[in-house]
Subunit: 333 residues, 2 copies
């Protein structure tokens, strides 16, 4: 018998509230009005983009505690991450808070990892309230993974645009208007793609593996959900996923979308295939999706953040770029 | 009321077995005979040290499954990490296994994070068997955090020597000779140390914070444990911790030691202050400590892996290097 990767949260794991903060480009995008806060200058008055990303993540966590009227002493744990080497942005963010911290890294699928870990920890009954958060920044990601911005490199057609922002969820085990109902923990899937400018193709096979497992193990069809939302496959990657799912015998319908597709107007905003980054799913979910769930537009949502597992070094050494995707389902209470 | 950071594992979380694999220098050290496997050539026939580290981590996980007579289908989850940018070594290790994967990063405290997360997941009753593992490699760490080896840089007096190795624990909820009894999840502690060649000083304050919290919250004194073992403070860092604990009113006795001190003969092996790295605590615990627990020499052990939170970029930008430490306690069943 194969083991199940899908786990049900029978006991209540609830969203107490969410918070989002984004840059000017994200604010100007199609779902801009759903973000809580934005800034007009993406360096936030800091001497470096890395310090700007840290300032953004610190602001996010403070704002989430303000919104929920909690002090650090009310929060049992932060499970958080980002895309910088050694998740440096998050580690330095956390020195501002007297809150226990576990650092997560599954590339742009990190937000799902945070939610799954948070939900499991709450299920033990040992924790009352956990913050799950991620950040990313266009300028720190470009410099680290690709080229210095000053070089003015031309972008390739399949490239995506890293979301500048931070998104966080306050989970608790006492109550909220939306609850986590299940999760599927993904595995690393490697189709041998080596193009660091085609992240959608690196991640789509992992999204297919996790999504089809999730649906099969729960015994539901895609239309069980009002919305199935991958993290950051972008336009081309989403088309690839639809094709892979059709080949798998589980065609996706109009209820399927992708955070990277939703967050930008990709033609008018010149973002290649769409948004990407660890904050792509965390801002779109905590902003747009959560608010649409509160207003009753979506009752059941499946979020499938997707990550491309590479580093500058692995790419230079000729390694392929495998993907990973985890699924988390939500339901209006 | 302050929240507690310490959690008791009332339900059984057991060590089914452990595995370790190390390089020639670690094998030649004082606890060398307790490691399961070693190799004589630290590049393992690979074209790069990064690929060597991946090969080592893959071998470790295969060996751990062999020892416990399990297939990937019997293992519900791997929670693993390393020190490479984007935990690249672990991510590429995991493409070899059909096992769900969550990537952990708390620098050299990662092994504790893996154990804590694994134990919490097992406590939910949703998982039967989880692998917790970390790797590190002297040559990949030197190149990434400090200088290319080819440069032949002189080492500073407070420097440590990154352990080349990988260590893993197979946790289950059914039975074993050693069980996990509690954990204390640490927070980021920043004393403003900026010297990347003095990791002990960066991490000792975090070790003090977590260790004193652990003892106070459980209401026990240090001699409750047969062994209290920090991760990789090294000789100078351990002295610093002893001093900080004395100032805290909880002096440490002869039952205190450090994995980084234990693993090398620091004078004869010319390793500066001792061993360090994500595999320092995972090899010493899974090799030396676990076997001494099986033989009855230690009945109660507190492991406190320690991590220094920095990256090349954070150091170049003048950031301080905060530390983090998590504690996990074990008892012979």
């Amino acid at each position: 018998m194969m083991k199940a990767s899908t786990h049900i949260f029978e006991k209540g794991v609830f969203i107490e509230d969410t918070a989002t903060i984004v840059g000017p480009k994200e604010k100007a995008g199609p779902v801009g009005k759903y973000f809580d806060k934005h800034f007009d200058d993406d360096i936030l008055g800091q001497p470096s983009y890395e310090k700007a990303e840290i300032k953004m993540h610190v602001s996010l966590i403070k704002y989430l505690m303000n919104k929920t009227k909690h002090d650090p002493k009310d929060v049992d744990l932060c499970i958080s991450g980002d895309l910088l080497d050694e998740i440096m942005g998050t580690s330095l963010t956390m020195r501002e808070f007297d809150i226990p911290f576990l650092g997560a890294y599954n590339a742009c699928a990190t937000f799902a990892e945070c939610l799954i870990t948070g939900a499991m920890f709450l299920t033990t009954g040992k924790f009352k309230r956990i913050i799950c958060s991620t950040s990313s920044h266009f300028s720190t990601a470009e410099r680290q993974y690709r080229f210095p911005l000053e070089l003015g490199n031309q972008r390739t057609p399949l490239a995506q645009w890293t979301v500048t922002g931070a998104g966080g969820t306050m989970l608790n085990n006492t109550g909220g208007k939306v609850r986590l109902t299940s999760c599927t923990i993904g595995q690393v899937v490697d189709y041998g793609v080596k193009d660091a400018n085609d992240m959608g193709a690196c991640m789509a096979p992992a999204a297919k593996t996790t999504l089809s497992k999730h649906l099969r193990e729960l015994g539901v069809s895609p239309d069980y959900y009002d919305l199935i939302l991958t993290g950051d496959l972008g336009e081309a990657g989403s088309r690839l996923l639809k094709r892979l799912m059709s080949e798998e015998g589980i065609p996706l319908g109009d209820n399927y979308n992708d955070c990277g597709v939703l967050i930008f107007n990709r033609v008018a905003q010149d973002v290649g295939q769409g948004g990407s980054g660890a904050a792509c799913s965390s801002t779109v979910f905590n902003g747009y999706v959560y608010k649409k769930m509160l207003s009753g537009e979506f009752k059941r949502v499946l979020l499938v953040p997707t990550g491309a597992l590479c580093s500058k070094t692995s790419i230079l050494q000729g390694e392929s770029i495998p993907g990973i995707a985890h699924a988390v389902s939500f339901e209006v209470v």
